[in-house]
Symmetry: C2
Subunit: 191 residues, 2 copies
DNA sequence: GCTAAAAATTAATCTAGTTCAAGAAATACA
DNA sequence: TGTATTTCTTGAACTAGATTAATTTTTAGC
């Protein structure tokens, strides 16, 4: 279980064995079955989660009642509601398993202690944030550049394996349109 | 000039005088007049910029020829193209002054050295990244929740001073629609 | 293997926002 | 103070994608 986190850290920084162990000791394994929640709207988010196995989506409920998916997470991603975690406020998101999953979780308290002590762990999380910001910027660029149809094809091309793992209606929501429209796109393609 | 960066750092972390000075010594002041560029598409971005005074927009050129604004930056924001900076690849963005401006710039080289040495500076930038990620998440939530008209009114409400500082067509692009449509929204409101 | 629930499809109608084109206002700067 | 450039507005025709509702297909659990 822990080796996947160990390996991930080592892709970014070179901690001493001792320093690495500090992080691994701070973390707890949790099994989350399909459709269970890491966080629900209104709860105070108190943990940061590392996905060892499985898939999650974060979404919120629109005033219309529709679920709007704002992100997916799979193996080797950290996931949480930072707004809730950092500012100690009730979450506006649901984070739900889209498959049977396994996560490593670290509490805000323990993480804050590590971040006060360890330069390496700061570097690691700083680099993770950089990476996500770069990915988010690309995503925004795509959303501004492409039509719905183009977005879908581009997404399938860049994430061929992932597309199989979640239902179409979640993907449609993530890409910013309705499942009906996604059906239409797929129908067009076949001809 | 430097006091605005000093003050900003102190809002997040408590460095020693010496540590703070390391950052302030690494930084150079630059005056950028209206419509000048910090970065142009195709260039390798080599600096991180802290805005002391003024306003910038980052945008790219769509295949249609249209300029798509993906972000604004004002006083006390760090701005750069992280994708280019971190991965040493040509930038896909332009970052242009929308007003006569003053920035503090730090080279990637110097920054990397500081980040190897100083836990406090790592913490500072890690916290900046967290803050931006939270803001970006809110932005995505808004974009998924609101109609164009609602987006505009919400933006004006939350950033009343800023709205005055940039031309309408930039704001329209940032919000994801055309200047013509923004005109229509404004016309509706008057009645 | 059967049944209920979840997910995907289809088609008709509707609308928010685009496009194009032309003119009016505002701003910069000589 | 006048002229050129930039920005903003208006209107008519158009389209990508939404909505609604009914039907089919797939999946999961017993």
């Amino acid at each position: 279980m822990l080796t996947s986190l160990r390996d991930h850290v080592l892709k970014f920084v070179k901690p001493s064995e001792k320093e690495l162990q500090l992080l691994l000791d701070a973390v707890e394994t949790e099994v989350i079955s399909h459709k269970q929640y890491l966080i629900k709207e209104g709860q105070y988010c108190l943990h940061l989660y590392f996905i060892v196995q499985g898939c999650f989506r974060s979404y919120f409920i629109h005033t219309s009642g529709a679920e709007k998916v704002i992100n997916f997470g799979i193996e080797d991603w950290w996931i949480t509601d930072f707004d809730s975690l950092v500012h100690n406020r009730p979450s506006e998101l649901h984070i739900q398993a889209a498959e049977d999953s396994i996560v490593l979780k670290i509490s805000k308290q323990k993480l804050d202690l590590l971040l006060q002590e360890s330069i390496i762990i700061n570097q690691y999380f700083r680099m993770i944030h950089e990476k996500v910001r770069i990915a988010d910027q690309r995503r925004i660029k795509f959303m501004y550049s492409l039509s719905g149809e183009e977005l879908y094809h581009s997404f399938c091309e860049h994430n061929p394996k992932f597309v199989q793992r979640v239902p179409q209606y979640m993907l449609a929501s993530y890409l910013g349109f309705t499942p009906e429209f996604l059906s239409k796109i797929r129908a067009r393609k076949k001809k």
